[in-house]
Symmetry: C2
Subunit: 443 residues, 2 copies
């Protein structure tokens, strides 16, 4: 469907029919509009954004590709920016505020609604990766002595500001959170019932400085839609909604895969080539260092290779399989850590398992390799060398592929950084050393 | 916190104090109980599960590790199983039903509540990976002519069955979905207002056979909590809740990383070693084939290597960097496809970008390599060979790392299957061939 609309809009742009485009786009769902603008040829993207009403623009801008959003924010006129930010929820307005330059930000904070401006200032203080950094200030909180009618009046008065109302929060006069109340419960209760009679007091909360990955873990574990955020004295500061957590989960999943192969999170499909080069270069440079280290291991055996050149032909096999087997182990372990399945209590079991798997796979794959090598070269001893070095290397793969991320986690370093480059370096070294070393001894 | 509880419970198990454990566990939140049982030493896990009330057990069992759940289901007595399944929502009951053997399933379907049994039978028909496979039948649907009071009565009558009520669905007499209604709107409207007056008619729906990954895309795009599922005539069949979508997103993210390194989704941290071996073996065997293919490319140049053995020392550098660079490209592209950023309209741009990045990185990293190689061997020509082959190989990495997943996607094969093994094979071959080929010509 979107593909048909896309073609139509491109056609309208080619014929310069702005008012038709405006009409068409402003009737679409914000989710569709973001997708449409992201997919438009780049010459029409900013133009299309300009045609949106401020309300629609406020819902769309956050979901545009990073580089496009940056470009739009650089060139936007200030009046328009203020109008758009006035329409936003506090959490998204804060994210946009965080992307403005100092000068733009000061100006905007002066001109938008005072209440919004204060909320943004409060939220800007928190680390982007913390509960505070992803929460919104728009909440409905009632006092415990309020009865149903009073609560409904209170909700009515604040309804405009709060999107997706599922929980109402119950606080005491010091703004400390004492309970939560599902809207549906309020709908069904009697007029004289008070907040304190129907609220749920077993409240799950996020401390404001909790890491957002841990916050995502809470949503996973307790299957909730909204999570109140509190300060260290249990005072209610805001709420995190589950749709924002989906973004966090996506980003954290990308981050984990990315780190394993040495990419930075901002390096996406449509990041400009020069930016991507800049981001990938340091890691490739590190990779060059590890490659020379690996090469120096081979260098030790240069004399053997000069005598038996077929060793150079077979040695990539041992290294390659070790590397792949190590990457498999690394992936299982880092993913297990990310999803909270692997904790410090049960790690030794996991490491032991991965080593076992490595050895068994080494024996099985090694045996096939022995047969193939014998058929190719008619040399039993060569087959044996190949087989034994494979078992050794897959044992190494299981050991380091599992223990390195676990060790990093216990040192509080992101285990996903135990990237494949380190594992591959070690399995390459292990593979070359065991194969060439055994060959030097036996052949 | 959980860690303290864990120690306490283990202590109680060691002292054989079942009734204390029972009391302790049955007061905890289901999310915490699942985690606790998952982390217990294996000898206490089934025992702990037996101590749960059926209601708690119904909420816990789904979140236990796969192998533990299988073990519990194999040994559970039938009366207990029926009690537990009676407490479950239809979607989870269906998932459990899907894990039972034929015989157990038949028995259970006879003994549980007739309505539940019918719902499970209906749901078992759908593909597990489709909207139908993850939806639940528990919904509240009202007729469009109902007024507020009637709707509230209807909700009250069905409230027990439906957890997390956010939307009410409005249907016509043929059960066709015509609108949705937020509970909070119903709370604030007037007594005489009818469903049709206050409902939202722009309803986003999922067709029952839509792939669950696409369903997750809808939640991402429209930021919703609940999604109605309909058949081809727009008849309302059930709903999908956002907490189930988080599980889908986690699983799909794991699946994508897993496929890239040749792992199957069921291969987790605590899968038994033999199961893991079985699952990883076919891929490692394929890997052995590709490794021999790569090795045969090196074999072509065996004579050159016999003469210039230091080529064997340096050749892993070209192959290694090409492989890593290709894996980076592959990761950016497959992740972009998974998150819906990359569509068929804008792929040529992405491929072109990745090739550009590959060439530029090749030139930069190649230049460093040239200098290092010269310093090591005092041979300018060797440095030139190394540099040129690096540029070639990183060009290949950019080209195949981006185009292979895109081609697979257009052939409707999961692009994540364009796993690193294929990319690495090609960059290994490219690296060895260009380096050794150039060396044969020039040195």
């Amino acid at each position: 469907m979107i593909s048909k609309t896309l073609k139509k809009i491109i056609g309208l742009f080619e014929d310069n029919k702005s008012s038709d485009i405006k009409k068409e786009i402003n009737e679409m769902h914000p989710g569709d509009v973001s997708q449409l603008i992201n997919e438009l040829p780049s010459e029409y993207q900013s133009q299309a954004f300009k045609l949106l009403s401020s309300e629609l623009a406020s819902k769309v801008i956050y979901n545009l590709h990073d580089e496009l959003r940056e470009e739009i924010l650089e060139n936007i006129n200030q009046k328009r920016l203020v109008e758009i930010m006035d329409e936003m929820d506090s959490d998204e307005a804060t994210d946009i505020a965080g992307e403005l330059d100092e000068h733009q930000l000061k100006d905007v904070l002066k001109k938008i609604d005072v209440e919004d401006s204060n909320e943004i200032k409060q939220l800007l203080v928190y680390d982007e990766e913390s509960a505070g950094g992803i929460m919104q200030k728009e909440i409905i909180a009632v006092q415990q002595e309020m009865n149903r009618t009073e609560m409904i009046e209170h909700i009515r008065a604040n309804y405009e500001d709060v999107e997706k109302l599922y929980y109402i929060f119950v606080t005491d006069i010091r703004n400390k959170l004492i309970g939560i109340l599902e809207v549906s419960k309020l709908l069904l209760c009697k007029a004289e019932q008070k907040a304190k009679d129907i609220m749920n007091t077993e409240v799950i909360v996020a401390p404001v400085d909790m890491d957002r990955e841990e916050v995502a873990g809470i949503f996973r574990k307790y299957d909730i839609y909204n999570l109140p955020v509190v300060d260290k004295d249990n005072r209610l500061l805001g709420r995190i909604t589950v749709d924002d957590i989906i973004d966090v989960i996506d980003e954290e999943a990308s981050e984990d895969v990315y780190r394993m192969v040495g990419l930075e999170s901002e390096d996406k499909v449509f990041t400009s080539p020069l930016n991507s080069v800049r981001k990938r270069l340091p890691w490739l440079a590190l990779n060059l260092v590890t490659a020379f280290l690996v090469s120096s291991v081979v260098g030790i055996f240069e004399v053997t290779i000069a005598r038996l050149s077929f060793l150079a032909v077979l040695m990539p096999i041992v290294a390659g399989l070790g590397g792949n087997s190590g990457t498999q182990t690394l992936t299982v372990i880092t993913r297990g850590i990310a999803l909270g399945e692997l904790t410090l209590h049960n790690t030794y079991k996991a490491i032991f398992k991965e080593i076992t798997v490595g050895i068994i796979n080494g024996i099985l794959i090694g045996s096939i390799a022995v047969i193939v090598a014998y058929l190719l070269k008619r040399n039993i001893l060569l087959g044996v060398v190949l087989g034994i070095s494979m078992v050794c290397n897959m044992f190494i793969a299981g050991l380091i592929g599992s223990s390195i991320p676990v060790i990093m986690k216990s040192l509080k370093i992101d285990p996903a950084l135990a990237s494949s480059v380190i594992i591959t370096m070690l399995t390459d070294m292990g593979g070359f050393a065991s194969f060439l070393g055994l060959a030097t001894l036996l052949l």
